[in-house]
Structure formats: C-alpha cells, structure tokens
Amino acid sequence: MLSPTAKAAPRPAPKPAAERTRSFVEAVREATEQEMARDENVVLYGLDVDDPKAIQGTTLGLPAKFGAERVFGTPLSEDAMTGAAIGMALAGLRPIHVHIRMDFLLLAVNQLLNVAAKSRYMYGGRVNVPMVVRAMIGKSWGQGAQHSQGLHSFFMHVPGIKVVAPSTPYDAKGTLAAAVRDDNPVLYVEHRLLHFQKGPVPAESYTVQPGKARITVPGSDVTVVGISYMQVEALRAAKYLADVGVKAEVIDPIWLNPLDTDTIAESVARTGRLLVVDTAWTNCGAAAEIVSRVGEKLQGEVPFRFQRMGFAPTTCPTTPTLEDAFYPNARTIAAAARDLVEGRKTGWLPAERADLQSIEFKGPF
C-alpha cells in the first residue's frame, strides 16, 4: 500500500545545462540560500553550521547573509535540538537541522520517530511538521564503526517521515528545495563522497519532487539500483559491464520514501534481473524492501533473479584492507551483475580502469 507509484514514465534526465557546472556541496548551499531568501520561515542550524569549515562548505556565507538568528550553531545536544526543530515547525518555521554524521541520529530518533513522524497523525491532522534533517554518511580513511553508517532504512520503516538520498548535484539542489517546502518531516541523506561530485546545476530555483525514480543508464540485461553514493559506483559498474558487452540499466531511486517501485519493477520486467546496491547494511535494509516490492509486483507474471549488495554484515573497520572489503565498489558490482546475467558464478572481476577509480576520502574529517 505504501508503494507510491509513477504510473507514467520515470523522471527524465536533467537537461545537460553544459553552461553551468557545480559541485554537490555548492548545490546544497545554493538550494539552502535560495529557500532561505524565498521564505523567511526557513532557518538553518546544527552543530558547527556557523563554524569556519561551514559543514564542508554547504553553509558557507549563510550566517553572514541571513544573520545569527536564522543560521546558528548549537550545543552538543542532538536529542533536544531535534525536539526543538519540531517545536519550531509547529510554530510555522521550516527548520533545516544538520548532522555531520548520520550515526549521531541515533541520539535524535526518539524525537524524529516518536514525535516528528507521528505528530500529524496522532494529532488528527491538526498540525504540520515541516522540517528537514540533513544527515551525512561517512566513508573511507578510517571513519570506522561509529562514523560510517547509513541508517536510512530506520526512517523508511516508520511511517510519517519522507526520505531522500540524491546522488547528483542537480538532484541535491532540487530535492533539498522540495524537502524544505514539504509540510512533512524529511530526512535528507548526504554521502560525504558525493560532496566532491560535479554536474550540471541550473542557477534558478527548482524542485525535484517525490514520486519518480530516474533511469540514469538505459539497458536491457540487468537492472542495477544504486542508492546514494552507490549510484556513482553503479554508473562506473555499467561501464565495466559495457566493456564485456553487458547492457546494464541503472536506476537512481532518489526518493526512498515514497519509493517509486513502478519504475524499478517495469525495468526488471524487461531485464529479468535486479541488483540493488545500498550504502548501508542489507539486512532489513532498503535493498530488502526494494527486492520485496519488485517481487510483489512481478510475482506470478515475470520471473526475475536478484541480488542485494551493501555493507558487509559486520561493523565497519578502520584499516584499509578490511575497509575495502566492507564496501561494494564498481568492480564488485559489475561482477555481481554479470553473474546475475549469466546465471552462474563466472568468477569474473574486471581489471581496474584508471578512469573509473573511486575517490579516496581524506579529510577534512
């Protein structure tokens, strides 16, 4: 029932506005600035949003432009500061609350899931809770056990909060604008490695609303769904696969709740194979959900094979030898996709192509 559906076509690719390229960081900053200029109810806060490093630059210049009342750093009090966002939202503000690590959301879930997600319902529709929580997933360079988690599935599990995980600067800007204007709470998942990505970003304000996934590479042999940063790895994997003649169709769900199951299921109906790659654990994760939903749609009609990839089912280690094995990457994704296509363990792993290497994250921590 929750399955939101785009009966029509999936989201078209953004026009390659070659004239204007921006980084993910700049896209986030720009959306924030435009939304704050557009609506004086928007406020931006969180630990260190007003410090010199400005959350990797995503809040740069905003304290000066909008003043210390609308842009402010906070005490180290995730629980109360999340509760405060709810109070602000009840009073008509539109807070954006920033967390430099998603791991710290575990201190905030009581307010987010017991209060924010439930308020509209338990108060019989008498209140709106327009608030955005930006939470970053860390990776690489010894981030380790407590600075690396992708916990978005918790927010997909409990009804009442939307979840978005853009992977391009274009979507970063458009979904953040949509999230800020949304009258419901929204978790905005930001992967630290995406911050380096560059891409076309129109100057004017626009929104990328929930409802539609995007087919980022059309193909016919296997459907690869890449969530958040794993979209980047999936795109690279598609190139490795092209080298061996496998045509992967890559999909970016963008919004995880509501999730556009139709676009994914329609693709799987064509390819007969589904590989879901998440930047999180798979056990009770978004990958399990996507697999289940596609199964619900296609069972009895179109047979398909699938695989889930994500964090290894263990705690994130710091040392690089183990850390590398903890995460899926373009090559392991390509290998899994090819095995799905061939219906057997081929043992193939593409040789690394220099142009398709992952960025190693190396601070600022």
Partner: protein
C-alpha cells in the same frame, strides 16, 4: 479572578471525576492519567498566560488542556475514540491538542515536549513576538537527558519558556528520592543559569502570582524561568481508581494533600451564589461534553490511512 480560577479548577475536577465514574463502563477507549489533586498547577499557570501564548504537556494532560481553554467536549469525545474528538480518535487521552487556544500537544514519551516547547519559543523569538511558551512536565521528566539539554539551550538563546515541573513526588510508583541523588530540582535549573523557585502547587493564588511575574520577565526578554510546583496525585498513576493498597505510598499523605485541596480552598473564598452559578454552568458543560461524546460517531476505516502525511503525499503513497 477568584471566580475565574474556581471555574477552571472545578471544571477540571468535575470532568475527571466523571471520567473516572464512566470508566468502568468501557466507553472510554483509552488509558487515562488523571490530574485530580494536581489541577491547581495548570490552572495557576495558565491563568497568567494570554490566549496567544502556548503550552506543551504530558500524557497527564487533561488539566493543562482544559486550563488553557481546550474544548471539553472534544476532549471527552477523544477519550471515547470518536470522530468528534480533538484528534478525531487517533490520539486518545495522551495526545490532546487544541491549537486554537494554544494547546500545542501532549506526549506519551516522558520529556519529549520539553524540547518541543523550547523550539516553539525559538520561533517566537525569531518572529519578534512577545508570546511565551509554558512547558509542563513531571518530576520524573527532569531525569531525562532532554531536560538538561533543553535547559541549557533555553538559557543560551534566552528563550521565553516557562518550565513548570509538576512535582507530585512519584514517577509511577517510585518516589523521587529513589530516583534522584539530590532531590532539589530547582538547583538543576539554576545550574543551567535559570531563575527557579519552588512553590506549593496547592496554593493557586501564589502560583498564579509568581507565574505572572515570571511571564512578565520573559516578555521583557529576560529568558527562561523555572517553577517547581509541589503537588500530590490523588488517584492511581493510570486509571480511575485508588492505589494505596499497593503500599508504595501512604493514605495519610493523600489526606494531608486533600486537606489543602485548592478546589475547596478557592470555593470557600467565593460568594455562595456566585459559586453555585459557576458550578451549575460547569455541570451543564460536563453533561453536554459526555452527551457530545456519546453522540459522535466512531471513525470509519477510511480514516486509517489519512493524516500520515499531508493529503497530497498520502494520495501519492496510497496510489
């Protein structure tokens, strides 16, 4: 003022007595945490608030809801699980709201609304409004981390929040001294930089005065204020009955509290005729509230899947 206070006190007392009476019939589809004996705290504070000021409270929220002007019929209908309820049957006794008169919500998770109140106050500040927020919570809530975090934030930002600790000496069946190394709740508030005072929660007149003074200071930009009001819960923690047989507290303590009952104390200050007029008006309101609740319909299952998100989003989710 005495008449107004009495009306408010009597109104809460009577509707809760009626709730307790009706409870056995199973018409009330919800656990109830009664405020009987504690009414004066809500009444004293709320009487000093303006209509555009707001309050946040707890699952023990009938008194606060009514004292701030909440619709009694909508509250009783809510307890009955009816569409006429203040949350249309979705929230029950623990999630009362009446945004029109500034009741901004009550929560079943201890401590949560303390932070919500501070956030609301932050919005008032950003808006240059002189409206203030009152946050009601129990002595138990002061042990939750969110309490300390919020106090610090409120002082840091000089927020117009009046923190009101209704100290009834117990969290469920556990006495304060079994839960707090040092039982001086005001000391905690002061340690975070906030003026705090402990007031007899049965003394509705003093409470009202001190609340008014605190609120004036807040409107003048002096930042958050703290009141610890000592009080006593006459009934069991949850449910309509008594619980002295459990042995965790003494009937004698209740007798002492009842001897200082604010409802009776204020009643005795009134002219008997005026008192009678108030009482009969309240009796009528109570009767009508229960009639309204009885007459109101139960929601239909169509309502199950609405109000999760705003309408548009619910439509998308259910498509």
């Amino acid at each position: 003022m005495h008449a107004r206070l009495y009306r408010s006190l009597y109104r809460i007392r009577r509707v809760e007595e009626e709730i307790a009476r009706v409870y056995a019939s199973d018409k009330i589809k919800s656990p109830v945490h009664l405020s009987i004996g504690q009414e004066a705290v809500s009444v004293g504070v709320c009487d000093a608030l303006r209509p555009d000021d707001v309050v946040f409270g707890t699952y023990r929220g009938h008194a606060m809801y009514l004292a701030k002007g909440g619709d009694m019929a909508a509250m009783v209908a809510e307890l009955y699980g009816k569409v006429g309820g203040c949350t249309r049957g979705k929230g029950g006794s623990m999630h009362l709201i009446d945004t029109e008169c500034g009741v901004m919500g009550t929560s079943a998770v201890v401590g949560t609304t303390i932070a919500n109140a501070a956030g609301y106050a932050y919005a008032m500040k950003v808006r240059r409004s002189d409206a203030v927020v009152a946050s009601f919570f129990g002595d138990g809530a002061t042990e939750e981390g969110v309490f300390a975090e919020t106090l610090n934030f409120a002082v840091l930002k000089k927020l117009p929040v009046l923190f009101v600790c209704e100290n009834n000496g117990f969290a469920i069946h556990t006495a304060q001294a079994k839960r707090q190394g040092l039982t001086d709740i005001c000391a905690r508030a002061r340690a975070y930089g906030m003026p705090a005072e402990r007031i007899d929660g049965n003394d509705v007149l003093t409470l009202r005065d001190r609340a008014e003074a605190a609120i004036e200071r807040m409107r003048g930009g002096e930042g958050p204020q703290f009141i610890e009001a000592t009080t006593y819960r006459w009934r069991e923690h949850v449910g309509p009955g008594q619980d002295f047989h459990l042995g965790y507290r003494e009937q004698a303590d209740c007798d002492a509290a009842q001897a200082r009952d604010a409802v009776r104390a204020i009643a005795e200050m009134l002219d008997p005729k005026e008192r009678a007029l108030i009482e009969s008006a309240v009796e009528l309101e109570v009767r009508e509230a229960f009639q309204f609740a009885e007459a109101s319909a139960f929601p239909t299952t169509d309502d199950l899947m609405t109000d999760i998100f705003t309408e548009e989003a619910d439509a998308l989710a259910n498509r």
